[in-house]
């Protein structure tokens, strides 16, 4: 072995690299894993499901294998009026986020409350189900498996819902379309409070994958964009052609996410639209062409739902 005269060097190299990895991976790993989930982390997990990047169940990143977030104002089982409630519907076969399937994600107290009060242990991916995020008397957030605790079935909840948000599929679009190359999801701790809102806390990310903070901000931070601008019309125009609502924007157009047909089933002709738009942009016509309303199953709808849901 011609390395023999370098034995000490090789050992030292191994020791140095191991020590480095002990301090930079093992120790932070223990520390971060010990942080308890916040309410936001529970909501994010139930909104985005198991995985939003490439995975076996959605290899082409089409927004499959995702839960549906709904807004309820009446009890789906009894029909009685109730306070506005967000519920997360996992159709049968949808994969659960790690927090529901692994004991070490939610944090000790949150896990205990979710198991005893929320009965999440009874949920199974094969059967699907409906989940709620609740906060108990001593301020511990927990997940409630409403199919067990209240008898809410997925079908009844989808039928009773006032609104449905495909925000889970929208996060997949956010990743696939590279929105995060310019829009961060991380208001900075030092100076972003006024403009972009509250920076995230340590426990806000438990169970989320990927986190897509973004690093290179070329556009506004979006973590709380739904609180600043909740207009679906504005978002629709902005995604179709950002320069309709913000003439100086350098954002690309996402009109191709509309697909072939709009909400009413009319064919969308992007080239004809662009021709009319260019006439408007060059001052030959007074008004820009109408932006089609995205179809309910379009990718554009998912992405708009995701952005409006960033509160």
């Amino acid at each position: 072995m011609a390395f023999r005269e370098y034995r000490i060097g090789c050992i030292m190299f191994g020791v140095a690299l191991s020590a480095s990895m002990f301090v930079t991976i093992f120790l932070p790993g223990i520390d971060i894993s010990a942080r308890s989930s916040t309410k936001i982390a529970l909501e994010k997990q139930l909104t985005y499901g198991w995985e939003s990047g490439f995975n076996y169940y959605d290899p082409f990143l089409q927004g499959k294998d995702k839960p549906i977030m709904v807004v309820l104002t009446k009890d789906p089982r009894t029909g009685a009026a109730m306070d506005k409630t967000d519920a997360y519907v996992f159709p049968a076969g949808t994969h659960f986020p790690d927090g529901l399937t692994h004991d070490n994600i939610l944090g000790e107290k949150v896990q205990a409350a979710s198991t005893t009060k929320g009965r999440i242990g009874e949920a199974s991916e094969a059967a699907g189900g409906v989940f709620l995020v609740r906060v108990d008397a001593d301020d511990t957030p927990y997940i409630e498996y409403a199919t067990a605790t209240r008898g809410w079935t997925t079908d009844a909840v989808l039928k009773a819902a006032d609104q449905q948000f495909l925000a889970g599929g929208g996060k997949t679009m956010f990743i696939r379309e590279g929105c995060w190359w310019c829009h961060t999801l991380l208001p900075e701790e030092t100076q972003d409070w006024q403009t972009f809102g509250r920076p995230p806390m340590t426990g806000d990310f438990n169970g989320e994958s990927p986190t897509t903070f973004g690093s290179d901000r070329k556009a506004p931070d979006l973590l709380h964009v739904g609180s600043r601008n909740s207009s679906r019309e504005w978002m629709t125009m902005h995604f179709f052609n950002p320069r309709l609502v913000q003439p100086h924007s350098i954002m690309p157009r996402y009109d191709y996410l509309w697909g072939n047909k709009d909400k009413d089933g009319n064919k969308i002709d992007l080239h004809a639209w662009d021709k009319e738009y260019m006439a408007y942009a060059e001052g030959d016509s007074v008004y820009p062409p109408e932006v089609p309303v995205p179809a309910d199953d379009s990718e554009a709808r998912m992405l708009i739902d995701f952005v409006l849901n960033l509160k």
């Binding site: 990047g53 920076p199 901000r217």
Partner: protein
């Protein structure tokens, strides 16, 4: 080229692998910088074409990054190692056949990886964007055979000691494999949350710190003594450089996430370690510049030294920025702005590209046994690269400072976009100059292979006069 795939080991001329890697690296450099120029144009003029949805910025940005990192930079490293490692061991490459296959499968894998990224099939993790099957391919089909060739060539060397460059080559290839396998833990085991975010940047930091920066430095440790004829100024300072890379450069990963809610102790630790990166940096720059003693005229007259020393000089602002911009006092101002983009290009397009371009220029002349075709074209390439890069770096640094100021004074974001517009145009022009310079380079190298003056056995390229 393909005829060597099934040839016997002894029938493959020495240096074939290095040559294939070198030509591939230049081709990928053109592709990578072309994509970069195209992306930059879209940041300046978002509506300058319509309807080519395959060319969306969000789909192409990462293709540019990975084409230059895995195509240009890594393949130029492979080319350099494949001829420098045997030369320093006074031996042959361990297996030319493995190397030729390695190069072919590397190119195929990279095409596939970039095509997948282009269609949006991604892990959603910056710098580790590739999906895990591609990660496995990169680790075991692209990097392991390459490493094996380097390690085995060093093991089978015919010299007693191991020269500085070869410590770096062997060590960095080992660390790269570790970084690849460990840095993708979130994908292997579906790690989530802050662990995922932190491991993403652990990977990004270490792939830069343990592969790109030290290997580029190791290349200059070979090129400068070889061409000037001076011995390396200090073997011991080289030791300091090597060990401080292993100890200090592998630890500050968390400084990329200074404004995120990571544990405070981790950010403080990373920040201190980040300043200590100046130890290898200063050791390295001093060592190389002192090696130049008495031979500074070559900085003007010799194209390889011109490239190498420019790279080394660019390492000075690079490390000064790198050491201090990650401290809390400075990071809060420039985090996430164009300043960082400028810094990343200073590392990859400034320091390491100039070092590698020299190694590819030199290596191709030695391997082809032909003198470089045209000194004028090489000088043209140099100035296109240097001026293009300088325009890019200056404009992005200014744009970053504007962004930083707007961030703390809470200026509406669209005003930042308006203010940055002229700098986006300059950035695009700079990137385009680099792109065109590289096309000239490829032409020059093709002509060298065809019409360069033949270098007699036992002679160095530097000893032969240019004919054009």
């Amino acid at each position: 080229m393909l005829k060597y795939l099934f040839a016997k080991e002894d029938d493959i001329p020495q240096g074939t692998t290095a040559l294939f890697f070198a030509v591939s690296s230049i081709a990928w450099f053109i592709i990578g910088t072309g994509l970069g120029s195209f992306n930059a144009a879209k940041l300046a003029f978002p509506d300058w074409y319509h309807g080519l949805y395959a060319l969306q910025f969000g789909h192409m940005r990462q293709v540019h990054v990975h084409a230059v990192i895995f195509g240009w930079i890594a393949m130029a490293f492979a080319a350099s190692m494949m001829y420098i490692t045997p030369a320093l061991g006074n031996t042959k490459l361990w297996s030319e056949k493995l190397g030729v296959w390695n190069c072919l499968l590397y190119n195929i894998g990279l095409c596939l990886a970039l095509a997948l990224l282009w269609t949006g099939i991604t892990s959603g993790r910056e710098y580790s964007d590739h999906i895990w099957p591609i990660d496995l391919y990169i680790a075991f089909v692209m990097v392991v055979p390459w490493s094996l060739n380097v390690w085995m060539t060093i093991v089978n060397r015919r010299t007693q000691g191991i020269y500085t460059s070869n410590w770096f080559f062997a060590g960095c290839m080992f660390m790269t494999i570790i970084v690849f396998l460990v840095g993708n833990l979130p994908e292997w085991f579906h790690l989530t949350g802050l662990n995922e975010a932190y491991m993403t940047w652990w990977f990004a930091h270490n792939i830069l710190g343990l592969l790109i920066t030290p290997v580029a430095a190791a290349i200059t440790y070979y090129i400068v003594p070889k061409i000037t004829g001076n011995p390396l100024y200090s073997h011991r300072v080289g030791h300091l450089h090597f060990w401080s890379i292993v100890v200090f450069y592998s630890t500050p990963a968390a400084h990329h996430l200074m404004s995120s809610p990571l544990p405070e102790w981790l950010k403080s630790f990373a920040s201190v370690e980040g300043v200590l990166i100046l130890v290898p940096a200063v050791a390295y720059v001093c060592n190389i510049l002192l090696t130049m003693q008495g031979k500074w005229s070559l900085f003007v007259s010799n194209i390889e030294i011109k490239f190498t020393i420019t790279g080394v000089l660019l390492a000075i602002p690079l490390n000064m920025q790198g050491g201090f911009q990650q401290t809390r006092a400075i990071n809060w101002y420039i985090h996430g702005t164009g300043w960082i983009v400028a810094h990343a290009h200073l590392a990859l397009l400034g320091f390491s590209t100039f070092a590698e371009a020299a190694a590819v220029y030199y290596g191709m002349q030695v391997l082809l046994r032909r003198k470089l075709y045209s000194a004028s074209l090489a000088n043209f390439h140099f100035w296109m690269l240097l001026i293009g890069f300088s325009l890019y770096w200056t404009s992005m640094t200014i744009a970053g400072l504007i962004q930083g100021a707007a961030k703390i004074y809470e200026v509406p974001y669209v005003d930042v976009v308006i203010a940055e517009h002229p700098y986006m145009i300059v950035r695009w022009l700079g990137g385009t100059m680099v792109f065109f310079g590289n096309i000239i380079w490829l032409y020059n190298m093709v002509m060298t292979a065809r019409a360069g003056v033949v270098i007699p056995a036992g002679r160095q390229p530097v000893e032969i006069a240019y004919t054009r």
